[in-house]
């Protein structure tokens, strides 16, 4: 039938004569969403909610256990005309109410059906857990009684004077924070220090417990004020990416009529956390750095402010921010409906399905739903991959299992369902070729984009800046230092000397030798007249002595140390050597060509091969920690042999470099794996000047390859490295 909503249903006879009614415990709350009136049905026993529009509510509200469904339907039709529910819609509505345990008929409940539904639900929950190992919730106990007892005190937080107090506290905290902003930044670096993690976690749990109680008390408080609802019956532990943290179920707040109260309950957690952060800030500012209390306060402050704002306030995840946003926009079930709306758009415009169900009720929703749908989908993909990569990095096997389940649940199951839908759905019966074709075109486009179009294939390696020439200057002779060139001076190999020393010993020796020479010369003159043969011998002796003298003179000359080449004299400790006696071979400083630098980069085996054979000789260099500095360079040489010893400890993993070092090595320069060294010279004309010892990131470009090929290679390498295949 081409009629959108056929009036009659052939299954009507099954319900027509019944006299069902809502369960007596069901509470109905009237709420407005975007100017439309809705009725929210709440089952206090199970805390389930069910939203009805005006027409449906009229129908349901008339079911009083005396009138039959057929009578009620007739009345609805008379009163509401075309907007009255059709028979099919009425059946669907009754069925949904019944399966949500909101409806009772005069028949005794179908016990078998009840049990079946229960079994199904349990099965679904277990499946949910297995499919979603990263977010497991375990309910533990019912805090309602506890909350009731204390809401009189803690509920005051959510009053106007409570708010003023809170504002004062937060402002004080901010004041202290601003006062010691310098220390704040200094300590930031240590937050993720391994030794800090236990405190961090402790602070985290503390903050989150208060956060959850904030929600619960707010829910209680506003429930009391509005005289209905506000019950909190579940408290438990949630394992978020295996990290246990507390949670409470304050969903009964959804029944509040005023959206501001609902928003207040959603924000209460962050509200409390910010207060805690303020207290922690005061404590931190007033305690000595280094004290344990100081550390804890710092961590609590960090968590209760930064993590809360990043995490809870983010509306793209299903945390507080999401509920706040959905109440602010007055769009209930924002996330699922935004997804449905995207499907609707695809069905309507890409597949030309006739009369697809449009989940948007108002113009405003048509605007917000697609925006939220796209943003949250992209964000989910991003956050899920990030979590997976993180877990896979930490525990490989577990990560692989998780990745597998994730791939199955997030890719294959939806894909399978989608294919099933595409091939068998009755909705598509007439536009199937078009639907299949348009889907294939999109798929083909995506595949071409990532599978065929080559994209620059870049890889990054780390390196250190070193001078091209560097000579360590050693003492050549023992001696007392008499003069030296101060450090950091430009020097040339012509002089002046870097260090001058004096050696009495050598001077004495010289003098002795000179005296001996004089003596021999005197004897020679004597012998020339007396005995020729002896004169001959003496001539030899004199010649030998002369050589000795020259040698000593050379040694004395050597006490003046000259630069071996033009460069910069670096000897930070030279001041202390003044007048000291230095032995031969002792290091006094070094001379380096600081204006002629090159980069020694290290590449693991994974990249080395590509670098050697295919890489573009021209590379990009960025200084680590200074992303604004960028310059070009050229690969000069790649020594072919693999190495184990890193050119600098700075490249090692232990101090933040990218090369894994072997754990048994104290110096931190022995790489865990063989690597290759690459020599790169920065281009002359670059504006940025490098400094020796800087760590840089060198970006190589190898011939362009499609993204898919690149990913596949990375994945293979990941597995290969882990399993040594």
């Amino acid at each position: 039938m081409p009629v959108d909503r056929p009036t009659f249903s052939e299954s009507w006879y099954r319900v027509a004569a019944l006299r069902p009614q809502l369960r007596s415990t069901v509470q109905i709350h009237r709420q407005y969403f975007r100017g439309q009136m809705w009725h929210v049905l709440q089952d206090p026993a199970s805390n389930q909610f069910f939203r009805l529009n005006e027409a449906a509510h009229r129908f349901v509200a008339m079911l009083d256990g005396r009138k039959t469904v057929a009578q009620v339907w007739q009345i609805c039709n008379d009163q509401l005309g075309d907007s009255a529910p059709t028979q099919g819609e009425a059946i669907q509505l009754l069925g949904q109410l019944y399966t949500s345990n909101l409806l009772q008929a005069e028949l005794p409940p179908d016990a078998e059906g009840l049990f079946n539904r229960y079994r199904k639900r349990v099965k679904r929950e277990v499946q949910g857990y297995l499919m979603n190992l990263l977010f497991v919730r375990i309910p533990l106990f019912d805090p309602d009684h506890f909350l009731d007892r204390w809401v009189g005190i803690f509920g005051r937080i959510f009053t106007w004077y409570g708010f003023v107090l809170w504002l004062g506290l937060v402002l004080t905290g901010l004041y202290f924070l601003v006062g010691s902003a310098g220390d704040l930044l200094a300590q930031t670096r240590g937050v993720l220090d391994p030794s800090n993690i236990p405190y961090l976690y402790l602070g985290f749990i503390l903050a989150k417990v208060c956060h959850e109680f904030g929600h619960s008390f707010a829910c209680k408080k506003f429930g009391k004020v509005s005289g209905s609802g506000g019950e909190v019956h579940v408290m438990g532990i949630m394992f978020l990416v295996f990290m246990p943290m507390p949670y409470m179920d304050a969903s009964s707040a959804w029944a509040f009529r005023s959206k501001w109260k609902r928003i207040a309950v959603s924000t209460a957690g962050m509200f409390v956390e910010l207060a805690i952060a303020a207290v922690a800030a005061i404590v931190w500012a007033r305690t000595d750095p280094g004290a344990r209390l100081n550390t804890i306060a710092y961590n609590v402050m960090f968590i209760a402010s930064v993590s809360t704002l990043l995490f809870n306030a983010n509306p793209l995840l299903r945390f507080d921010g999401y509920y706040i946003l959905s109440d602010l926009l007055e769009i209930a079930n924002l996330a699922p409906r935004s997804r449905q709306y995207l499907y609707y758009l695809a069905k309507r415009y890409a597949w030309a399905v006739r009369n697809p169900h449009n989940p948007a009720n108002t113009a405003g929703e048509r605007f917000w739903l697609p925006i939220y749908g796209i943003a949250s989908t992209l964000y989910r993909v991003f956050i899920c991959s990030a979590i997976l990569l993180f877990v896979a990095g930490k525990f490989f096997i577990l990560g692989a299992i998780l990745a597998l389940t994730a791939v199955v649940t997030w890719v294959f199951v939806p894909l399978g369902k989608f294919v099933h839908y595409l091939t068998t759905s009755g909705e598509l019966i007439r536009t199937r070729p078009r639907a299949v074709l348009s889907t294939l075109i999109v798929l083909a486009a995506v595949f071409t984009a990532i599978g065929l179009i080559p994209v620059a294939d870049r890889s990054r390696v780390e390196g250190v800046v070193e001078p091209v020439e560097l000579r360590i200057i050693y003492m050549k002779e023992d001696g007392f230092v008499t003069g030296f060139m101060p450090s950091e001076q430009k020097v040339t190999n012509q002089g002046p000397p870097l260090v001058t020393a004096q050696s009495r010993e050598l001077e004495t020796q010289l003098k002795q030798l000179q005296a001996e020479g004089e003596r021999l010369k005197a004897r020679q003159r004597l012998a020339q007249t007396e005995e020729i043969a002896e004169a001959q011998v003496l001539a030899y002796q004199i010649a030998a002595l002369k050589k000795q003298v020259e040698q000593v003179e050379q040694q004395i000359e050597n006490l003046k140390l000259l630069a071996p080449f033009d460069g910069t004299w670096i000897a930070p400790d030279i001041e202390q050597t003044k007048g000291a006696y230095l032995h031969r071979g002792e290091k006094v400083g070094l001379v380096a060509s600081l204006d002629k630098l090159f980069i020694r980069a290290t590449a693991g085996q994974q990249v080395a091969d590509r670098l050697m054979s295919k890489a573009n000789k021209s590379v990009q260099i960025r200084v680590k920690g200074r992303p604004d500095m960028q310059l070009q360079g050229t690969i000069k040489k790649i020594p072919e042999a693999g190495m184990r010893r890193l050119p600098s400890a700075a490249l090692g993993y232990a101090v933040g470099g990218s090369m894994a070092t072997s754990p048994d090595d104290q110096s931190g320069t022995k790489a865990a794996e063989q690597f290759f060294e690459i020599h790169i010279t920065p281009d002359e004309n670059s504006a940025v000047s490098l400094i020796t010892g800087q760590r840089v990131i060198v970006r190589f470009e190898t011939p362009a390859k499609p993204l898919m090929a690149q990913w596949w290679r990375s994945l293979q390498q990941l597995f290969q490295r882990r399993f040594n295949i």
Binding site: V3, S11, I91
Partner: protein
């Protein structure tokens, strides 16, 4: 009419009925009220895989070997006298009643039954019939060609079921066959100490009750389902055994349990299983009552009048492929203007558009003699699949009334539904089910997925020598029909009898005209003239006969070859269209070359037939474009198009039937508060 078998019940059986009564009622109540839900997701995939694996079980060989062993036992029983045979049967009865039989006991029992059949009917089941009986006993769907003695084969598992004491329903196609078989085969059952009865449409509840109490009950699918539904209505709100017992304790009454006629669904053997379990599967059987509503009747008349005011193209677009009417905005406006003075139901926009769309649909897509015939002032639906008349069926949602108004017949207001059940769901409720039919092999998938019946193809007693000629394909219908006439003339000149199958009543009338124009003497058989059908079909095998029939006309009737026809090459069957299911084609072809006779079959089809048009739209259009003008384009490729379209149609039909079942499951789950399906 009192069932013959009920009058001849032995004292012993009478005793049994009296005793069995209450307990069978309770047993019926204890029975699960719905078949198992269809599996979903991975379970469904697993179930399908199981079905595929199941096909590799060599059941056929196993049954044939076992049948041979049973036949080998012949001597044992041939020598003993009737009294001893009766005694032996009584022993078996005790054995089966207690469920203590061993596999060899079953063989012995079958051998005994063969002997009983020989002594009572003068027919001794062939090994293939025994194999078929074994397949039925094993809960399979047995494919046995027509004329191979399915009726006789069914007696063996039926007797065993009768001995078990829980009743056995043998489902036949019509009341006539139910009565005939019950009477004919009754002698075997009675010899074995069992009572037999059959159900007729006009029987009173008391008679029905008695008939269902018999050990073996012959009935039609319609009657047995209707009785089941009436029982459910009688039970009212009693959900099952527990609530019935509670009611009994509370007020001592049976609260309707004494008005029940059936005693539970234990075992059924379905004859023509493919037509009952598949073709008619989703047709719901409805128990309804009159709901006189003169205002509504008037509305339907007005709708037809208003529909005439609207113009195709301007006010609405008919969509022939999906048989739908789409109102244009202009049409909607015009309708609003036209209905302004009418008031009543016409006030509601949705309701009035619905009514007018129905009237337009009735006018544009439902044609006299194609979708329905007018018989005795009533609109009678013609099954488009088979060409059979369906006098008990009505179209839904007021369409039937719209057609009645269009034909200016008396408009009968829609009835109130009291209870409703599709055959599919009904037969899934049986604890044990088996089926027999001439054509099951093509539908193995559906038999497995919906009923968990493996299909076993039983060979014919004498090898089949039917000659299948390859399909002849034409671009257009006109080319096809002239070729059909030419072919009939050619065959007629050889004096061979020809049976021409058409798909609709209209097509058969058209062909008849063409033949008359050629001066050919022929018989037309369509569902409209159902009275003398069986005789005409039976005579279609005589030399020089030309018979034009819709496919299902006189199904189940044997066509015996006339004298000398076998030498001419036997009956030639000419199909003028391929059907949505390969089974139906084979049913038509199967009318020739029965029981080892010679015969041949061929289909002549065109690209303008409904099958390629609906299920291979683009392909057939492309082929037609390539061929350019009317001509014969038979080739492997064009034939393949028809196979493809047929496979698509079959798959689509299965999917639709499963969807219906799923929707019912959904309703059951969601309408739990309304009690189980009535």
């Amino acid at each position: 009419m009192v069932a013959i078998s009920a009058a001849a019940v032995s004292a012993e059986v009478q005793y049994l009925i009296v005793i069995a009564l209450p307990s069978t009622t309770w047993r019926m109540l204890a029975q699960p009220r719905a078949g198992e839900q269809l599996p979903k997701g991975l379970d469904a995939a697993w179930d399908r895989a199981a079905g595929i694996t199941n096909r590799f079980v060599p059941r056929r060989q196993r049954f044939l070997r076992r049948a041979q062993r049973i036949v080998d036992l012949e001597k044992q029983f041939a020598q003993i006298n009737d009294a001893q045979l009766r005694q032996k049967a009584s022993e078996f009865r005790d054995l089966f009643r207690c469920g203590r039989q061993s596999p060899s006991d079953l063989e012995q029992a079958f051998a005994l039954l063969r002997e009983v059949a020989w002594r009572q009917l003068g027919e001794r089941p062939y090994p293939v019939q025994v194999a078929g009986a074994l397949a039925l006993e094993a809960g399979c769907s047995a494919e046995m060609a027509t004329g191979e003695g399915k009726t006789l084969a069914a007696t063996m598992p039926a007797t065993i079921a009768g001995w078990r004491g829980r009743g056995c329903h043998i489902i036949t196609v019509n009341d006539y066959l139910a009565q005939r078989d019950a009477e004919w085969m009754g002698r075997i059952y009675r010899f074995c100490g069992l009572s037999v009865a059959h159900i007729q449409q006009e029987m009173a509840p008391a008679e029905r009750r008695l008939a269902y109490q018999a050990d073996i009950t012959y009935c039609t699918n319609k009657e047995v389902t209707a009785d089941f539904l009436r029982d459910r209505l009688a039970l009212g709100r009693l959900r099952g055994l527990s609530s019935a017992l509670m009611a009994k304790i509370a007020d001592g009454s049976g609260r309707g349990t004494d008005r029940l006629v059936q005693r539970g669904l234990h075992y059924a053997i379905v004859d023509e299983a493919d037509s009952v379990l598949i073709d008619e599967a989703v047709t719901p059987l409805i128990i309804s009552g009159d709901a006189p509503n003169p205002e509504q009747v008037e509305t339907f008349r007005q709708a037809v009048e208003l529909a005439k005011e609207l113009q195709s193209g301007r006010d609405y677009h008919p969509n022939h492929r999906y048989r739908e009417i789409e109102l244009t905005p202009a049409g909607k406006q015009r309708l609003a203007d036209l209905t302004q003075p009418l008031g009543g139901l016409w006030k509601g926009v949705r309701r009035r558009e619905e009514l007018i769309v129905q009237a337009l649909t009735a006018g544009a897509f439902y044609l006299l003699d194609k979708q329905y015939v007018v018989d005795d002032g009533k609109v009678v639906i013609v099954d488009e699949f088979t060409g059979r008349l369906m006098p008990d069926r009505t179209w839904r949602d007021g369409l039937h009334q719209a057609i009645e108004a269009k034909e200016t017949l008396q408009v009968k207001p829609p009835k109130d539904t009291y209870a409703r059940l599709s055959f599919q769901r009904f037969f899934r409720m049986y604890r044990r089910l088996s089926g027999m039919t001439g054509t099951a092999a093509e539908a193995w998938r559906e038999f497995w997925q919906i009923y968990h019946l493996p299909v076993v193809v039983i060979p014919t007693n004498r090898p089949c020598i039917r000659e299948y000629l390859p399909d002849v394909v034409f671009t257009s219908e006109s080319a096809k029909w002239s070729a059909v006439v030419a072919e009939i003339i050619r065959l007629h000149q050889t004096h061979r009898p020809v049976l021409v199958g058409t798909r609709s009543v209209r097509a058969s009338e058209n062909l008849s005209q063409l033949l008359r124009a050629e001066g050919l003497d022929h018989q037309v058989l369509n569902a409209v003239r159902h009275a003398e059908e069986a005789q005409i079909v039976a005579g279609a095998g005589k030399a020089d006969k030309i018979t034009v029939a819709t496919n299902m006309a006189g199904r189940g009737t044997d066509i015996k070859l006339g004298r000398g026809v076998a030498e001419l090459g036997g009956l030639h069957v000419l199909a003028t269209e391929r059907h949505e299911a390969g089974r139906i084609d084979r049913q038509l072809f199967g009318r020739s070359a029965r029981q080892g006779d010679p015969g041949s079959a061929q289909a002549m089809v065109s690209l303008e037939d409904e099958l390629p048009r609906r299920h291979a739209t683009h392909l057939s259009a492309a082929l037609a474009r390539r061929a350019q003008h009317d001509r014969r384009i038979s080739s492997a490729l064009t034939r393949r198009v028809f196979d493809l379209a047929q496979r698509r149609a079959e798959r689509l039909a299965l999917r639709q039937r499963k969807a219906v079942l799923r929707t019912d499951d959904w309703l059951d789950e969601y309408l739990g508060f309304a009690g189980r399906e009535r």
